[in-house]
Every structure is written in structure tokens, then in C-alpha cells.
């Protein structure tokens, strides 16, 4: 009898030790969401069946071995062309869940596209309507709109088409287009999730076998912590999936009067430059 209890205690200690080391582990459960098989899972957050959770671990490529072609790019300049997609890709990469099947998709980067535009203040309401219409016609939606700015979300594969349209809406004073590669983070989260799910499954089985209340409470505490971690990872995966599937475009209408005049080298001391504009022209009093 004492031998059985000691054995149970040893197993519990072993499981707790494993739990402490599980975060960031580079092992994936065989039952983990299978991006290696082709598609990025849209249902990766679903719990794995407990029977499969105890399947043997296998080695997975670390982030350093991932295809980083689409690593963070930033374009900040007026009249600069729209960002080129990652080499060898014709369009921005679709988000997780939109990847095509096949060996190549295993290494396709997961990219989050965002674009910020500042335009001259002219016919703002009309321009805001035009941006919103562009997004909706591309299958996107309005995220936020006020008197002087608008934020829309558009499917990643339509991102370049939409920003090309946005640039025709008005006089672009400033643009900032960024593609952020979150492949490494996404895959790491998937691995964490798989490990947590497997661990939870083992803990649940241990809980069934627990004989003492103290043991049961200890296991339940650990189960609660692991469940919290699982929810956190699921939430982050869901957010990344959403951001990768729908690119974010923000257009603001604002003059750059002060910053440009002060920092730009173009303020020449020519007397005739000092009184241009509608205010003076139309002031006839």
C-alpha cells in the first residue's frame, strides 16, 4: 500500500517538473495542429482528444530554420511604391487557415500587413466614403471612422489592390506600409498549446487516480494554471490569425503644417512665399 502511494507521489512530482519546463519547449505533440501537413489550422485552438494527447513527441524545426523571406519591411516616404510581397510571392500571404495544401505551405510565412496614410485635407467626407467603399468592395469592413480618419480591415490577399485604390483617393502626404512576419511566434504558440493540452490530459488522468484530498487539490491547482495558459495561448493565436487574414489600413486627413515648416529644408526666405493661400486671397475686408 505504502509502495503504491509513494509511486503515485513520484509520478506527481515528475509531472509537475515537466509542467515547469513545458513553456518554450521545442517538442511538439504528434496530435498538435498539423501545419506540416499542409494547411494552417483555423481550429488549432480546439483541444486535442485525450487519447491522442499522449502520443509520442517528435522534433520540430525551430524558428531559426523557418523561411524568413517576408521579414519585417518598412516603407516610409511619400510617393514610394507599395510594398513588394515576399520574394517569389505574387500577393500578400493569406493568413493562417487560408494556406494552400502542399509541401511549400509548410514554410510559407505568416505576414501581418498594416498601412497608415496621411492625406491632405480636401473633400474629407467624400474621401472617407471612398476608402470605406474600397474596403467593402474588396470583402473588408469598417473598423473605425471619425471626422478626419478611417480604419478599415481588408482580406490580406486584397491588401495591395486596396492600397493602390486608396492612393488615388487623395494627395498622399505620408505613407507607412509594414509587413510583420509572425511565423515564428505563431509556430511557437502552436507548440506551447500542444504541450499544454497534452499535459492537461495527463493531469486529468492523474486526478482520477488521486487517493488523497491533498493530492487532488494540488493537481487541480496545477490544472487551473495550465487551463489559464491554454486560454492565453489560444487567444493570442486567434488574434494573430485574425490580423494575418485581415490587413489593417488607416487613412488620416491632416495637414503637416508645423512639423514640415520647422524641420523641412524647403522654407526659402522668399518674400512672395509668405502670403500664399486662401485666407489671404479671400480676405477682402
Amino acid at each position: 500500500m505504502w509502495f503504491q502511494r509513494a509511486h503515485a507521489l513520484l509520478v506527481l512530482l515528475f509531472v509537475l517538473a515537466c509542467s515547469a519546463c513545458s513553456v518554450g519547449a521545442k517538442h511538439a505533440d504528434a496530435a498538435a495542429p498539423a501545419y506540416g501537413g499542409g494547411a494552417y489550422p483555423t481550429t488549432a485552438m480546439d483541444d486535442a482528444p485525450s487519447g491522442e494527447a499522449e502520443a509520442p513527441m517528435r522534433e520540430e524545426a525551430g524558428p531559426a530554420q523557418l523561411d524568413m523571406d517576408g521579414a519585417k519591411d518598412s516603407f516610409v516616404n511619400a510617393k514610394q511604391p507599395a510594398p513588394e510581397p515576399a520574394p517569389g510571392k505574387g500577393k500578400p500571404q493569406p493568413g493562417p487557415g487560408q494556406q494552400g495544401a502542399g509541401a511549400d505551405s509548410k514554410r510559407s510565412p505568416i505576414l501581418i500587413y498594416t498601412a497608415d496614410y496621411t492625406m491632405s485635407v480636401f473633400e474629407v467626407q467624400k474621401s472617407l466614403d471612398a476608402v470605406e467603399a474600397l474596403a467593402k468592395s474588396a470583402g473588408g469592413y469598417l473598423a473605425r471612422r471619425d471626422d478626419r480618419s478611417i480604419t478599415v480591415r481588408v482580406p490580406a490577399e486584397k491588401f495591395q489592390d486596396v492600397i493602390a485604390g486608396v492612393e488615388k483617393v487623395g494627395d498622399v502626404l505620408h505613407r507607412n506600409v509594414v509587413s510583420e512576419d509572425v511565423t515564428a511566434e505563431y509556430r511557437d504558440l502552436e507548440i506551447q498549446l500542444a504541450n499544454h493540452l497534452a499535459l492537461r490530459s495527463r493531469m486529468e488522468k492523474l486526478l482520477e487516480k488521486a487517493n488523497k484530498v491533498e493530492e487532488a487539490l494540488q493537481i487541480e491547482r496545477e490544472l487551473g494554471r495550465i487551463t489559464g495558459e491554454i486560454e492565453r495561448v489560444k487567444g493570442r493565436l486567434k488574434l494573430l490569425t485574425d490580423l494575418a487574414q485581415f490587413s489593417t489600413i488607416t487613412v488620416s486627413f491632416a495637414p503637416r503644417t508645423q512639423e514640415s515648416v520647422q524641420e523641412g529644408p524647403f522654407v526659402l526666405p522668399l518674400p512672395w512665399l509668405n502670403s500664399l493661400g486662401l485666407n489671404r486671397l479671400m480676405n477682402l475686408r
Partner: protein, 156 residues
């Protein structure tokens, strides 16, 4: 001193002849009295009853600039400095064949969308600014008259 000597005949000519340019006031516009313009820059103003305004100013070309630089400086000032949207940039020709450039801008004012255009002519002695502006719909209606005024502008 050299500049002063060079500028003296110019000044005398100016005193003798008034503005260093000749304008043509289109039908539907009234030329305003001197209280509505700045004599120091030889200003001319005309307006419709609805507030579409034409203004001309002439500045001595000192420091001397050429048309390319002047257009660039003007674009920077109005577009980037004042936040106007550049809608169009095109060549303009005065009545005597002097070539200039017209920049058309748009800007939202509290009263609604406005259009503002500046045509700039540069000669050795003068920089001429021919400005037009007003509410967008009114300017668009008066566009032919405004173009006529530009085409019939005569620098000295």
C-alpha cells in the same frame, strides 16, 4: 550698391507706370479698390459677387530664382507647409508668350471644399503670382473666366 543701381530704373519705371503687369478682368468680376490690396506688392484684386477671387501680386525677383525653383518652393509651401492637396500642375502661357506654371490645390475650409490655384511667372526682374480661389462649386462654374484672366495676363 550694384543692386541698388540696377533696381533704380526699375523703381522709376514702376512709379511711372504703376503695376509692373497688365491684367484683364473677366466679365462677372469687379476690380476692387486699392483699400482691398497691398500696394507694396503691386497687388490687383477682383471678385465675383459670390466670392470667387482673382489676385495678382508682383515681387522683385531678389534673390533671383528661376521658374523651376519657384514652382518647387511654392508647391512645398502650399502642399506640405499648409496642407493643401495638389490636384494638378500644368504649364501656363501669358499673353506675351511668357511661360509659367499653374498649380491647382484643394482644401477643406469650415465653409466646405475650396479650390485654390496659383499661376507663377518668373522674369529676370519679377516674380508674378496670379491666384484664384473660392468655393469649389463656384470656382468650377467660373473656371473659363479664370482661365481667360490667366491667358490675358501680361507681365512687364
Amino acid at each position: 550698391m550694384k543692386r541698388l543701381l540696377l533696381g533704380l530704373p526699375l523703381l522709376l519705371a514702376l512709379v511711372a507706370c504703376g503695376r509692373p503687369y497688365t491684367t484683364a478682368t473677366p466679365d462677372g468680376f469687379v476690380e476692387l479698390d486699392e483699400e482691398h490690396y497691398d500696394e507694396s506688392v503691386h497687388e490687383y484684386r477682383a471678385s465675383t459677387a459670390d466670392g470667387v477671387v482673382i489676385g495678382v501680386r508682383a515681387y522683385e525677383n531678389d534673390p533671383e530664382v528661376d521658374l523651376t525653383l519657384a514652382v518647387r518652393a511654392l508647391e512645398n509651401r502650399v502642399r506640405l507647409g499648409q496642407g493643401y492637396a495638389l490636384l494638378e500642375k500644368k504649364e501656363a502661357v501669358a499673353r506675351d508668350g511668357t511661360k509659367g506654371t499653374t498649380l491647382r490645390f484643394g482644401h477643406d475650409e469650415p465653409a466646405g471644399a475650396h479650390l485654390y490655384a496659383v499661376t507663377i511667372f518668373v522674369t529676370d526682374d519679377w516674380v508674378y503670382l496670379l491666384e484664384t480661389g473660392g468655393k469649389k462649386d463656384l470656382v468650377e462654374k467660373a473656371q473659363k473666366s479664370l482661365d481667360w484672366a490667366t491667358q490675358n495676363f501680361l507681365p512687364q
